[in-house]
Subunit: 394 residues, 2 copies
């Protein structure tokens, strides 16, 4: 029942151009000849299309490589300075703004600390807008060169132009962050859930690279997941798909801060782990968690079991080829306990889907949220790179 759209001959060009650009982007420096093989396009088409892209400065030459006996291949690659993307991570404790070139190399960044419980939407919007100006001037990039701004936020982001957010932890219920930002900038905006942007980052540049069906889970203060179907983030009807943390693993179990009972997050969220271990934190959760892990307390094993149950449910329901465990809690747990986590998952999932899944740790650090947010911009660029742009760089 998929609803295909009508197509016209122009769409072909656009689509093939995206295919070509993606191949170029992900294969690194590549010759035209290789591109015909990789894309399946004819040499003629590759030739004319690369000529266009070179003319628009989207693609640049990148040296030559000799070919045994014949004319050397000219290597091409996407011009990393054709444009830039801003990635923003709005977290509980800080707002981070990063500027990335098209290769996703960070060119500048700036942090704004948030006083606890100070999550005024206006303030956050001001931080973001100020941050954008700062990173641009730090890196010497002009606004015209920026392809867009991606923002990762906690909570659920409604689909639509206003970027309306529901984030219980912030006390935000229906905050139109996108609209607030729109007042201060005319650049394209992409607002998405932070777990999803992190997932996007791991999918494109981290441990999930190349996977077409995957789940990237984020274990931190909150617990979330990004479900990737057919290579793209699965969003569901109102963009909240992947709320794994509040799926129930114990009917009528421990109370959760969401108001429910028995949520996964109520067992393996960092606060839950510490609580179950009887630790009263003095502020440094990472240290606290390390202490629990070192203690050989039964809480560790229980945590692994609960996580295994949660992961197994994903294995059964989603049947991914890869599960990436990210977030700082996830990585800290996984470093020592990955085999146990795998075992616990296997014990709770069906044999066939479990056999098809590999469970790995995330590779990107906590900056992945901002990187992933910038990747939203990159994705758009790779999908529809047709607007001719004027750049000073090159």
């Amino acid at each position: 029942m998929a609803r295909p759209q009508r197509r016209t001959v122009r769409d072909i060009r656009r689509g093939n151009r995206a295919v070509l650009l993606r191949a170029l982007y992900f294969s690194g420096p590549t010759s035209r000849n290789d591109l015909t093989a990789r894309t399946g396009l004819s040499a003629a088409t590759v030739s004319t299309m690369t000529a266009d892209l070179l003319g628009e400065n989207i693609v640049v030459e990148a040296g030559q490589v000799e070919s045994d006996g014949g004319r050397p291949r000219v290597l091409l690659r996407v011009n990393p300075e054709y444009g830039f993307a801003v990635g923003v991570d709005v977290a509980e404790t800080h707002v981070r703004v990063g500027l990335f070139d098209l290769e996703m190399t960070e060119r500048a960044k700036v942090d704004y600390m948030l006083r606890p419980a100070r999550h005024d939407p206006e303030l956050i919007a001001r931080h973001i807008l100020a941050g954008v100006e700062v990173v641009l001037s730090d890196a010497g990039v002009s606004p015209e060169q920026v392809l867009g701004i991606g923002v990762g936020v906690p909570g659920i982001v409604e689909p639509g132009a206003d970027g309306v957010i529901h984030a219980t932890t912030f006390g935000w219920d229906g905050v139109p962050l996108g609209a607030l930002l729109r007042r201060g900038t005319s650049l394209p905006l992409y607002v998405d859930n932070g777990a999803k942007t992190m997932g996007q980052a791991e999918l494109w540049f981290g441990s999930g690279r190349g996977a077409s069906e995957a789940v990237i889970v984020l274990l931190g203060v909150g617990v979330g997941a990004t479900i990737v179907a057919d290579g793209t983030t699965f969003r569901g009807v109102s963009s909240s798909a992947g709320e794994w943390g509040h799926t129930k693993i114990v009917a009528n179990g421990r109370p959760c801060r969401c108001g429910g009972r028995g949520c996964l997050e109520a067992y393996i969220g960092i606060e839950a782990i510490l609580d179950r271990a009887g630790v009263t934190s003095r502020g440094d959760w990472e240290e606290d968690l390390a202490g629990v892990l070192a203690s050989k307390s039964p809480v560790v094993e229980e945590t692994v079991t609960y996580l295994g149950v949660g992961l197994a449910n994903l294995v059964n329901l989603v049947n991914p080829e890869k599960i990436v465990i990210g977030g700082w809690v996830g990585v800290q747990l996984g470093e020592s306990l990955l085999p146990d986590i795998r075992r616990a998952t296997a014990a709770n999932s069906l044999a066939e889907p479990y056999a098809a899944t590999s469970i790995v740790l995330g590779r990107l650090g906590p900056d992945a949220v901002a990187l992933g947010a910038a990747t939203l911009v990159l994705e758009e660029f790779l999908n529809a790179p047709q607007v001719a742009r004027i750049t000073a760089a090159g």
Copy 2:
């Protein structure tokens, strides 16, 4: 990271043809004029394309309708007799083979009872092949008119041409049913999990009609789900996605026939319900369940709660616009308890995704498995209806 394919001008035609045919199929009798509006194609294209389709007998005229003042519109529709599809339901107690025309009207059917525990693959394959011959001759349809055979089976079906099946309840572990059938017929074969074919049927012709993001759950002896993403069944990497019945809702809970503990199926599968109610069945499960429901035993409320938890997990994780409850247990429960089920689901899911979801009962009876299996053939036909076929009908 979706990987688009290169396209050539020919693909446009194929794609637009599919768009047109789908519009024609789902809008019923439609004029060319309406089709231009519905498909977005130009009148010229619609004209030439419908001429082709009429010439191939895929589409036929279906009367006229006057248009105020001008030339009357000629109505067109898909020729229901252009081809036929066979749908097969392989269940624990029987094998059912149905023949459907393109409008999915059943033209003939035949049942083969299976003795309990008699699930020899060869036997089942023979039943299916014999059944195909029977329904064809009963309906007076020749094999050349059949577009394909869809088969719904229990258990997990590996992707690939051999249709390899893992069905614990049948004692099948790696049975290549597709290959077995291939020996006896040269018609196109589509083998899929029965819960998925039922889901497909509800999605196309039942309560799920028109939904793009949906979940169709099947409650019966087993418990399963079909996850629909962007209008198509989501299969995961090895085609086993949707194994909802063995997701855990009580870590370390009741033992399940799958060997695990705390599976949803161990609470709301029919055997589990009866067991929890202390009923020792004398064979008629439907009656037993009716008895339990009438008894006002606390088991009923518990069952609703467990189901609510299971559904809530789907709401949170998948964020569907619609959940369809199917399967005979599902319908029997839902008939009296749907409001309670909704309440239990709401209590265990996040507010935003719950608000976006409507929970409804399935509309199609137990025949939906075979119908859905036939729909696999129909789907293929609507996607790529390009092979010119010779038919006697029309």
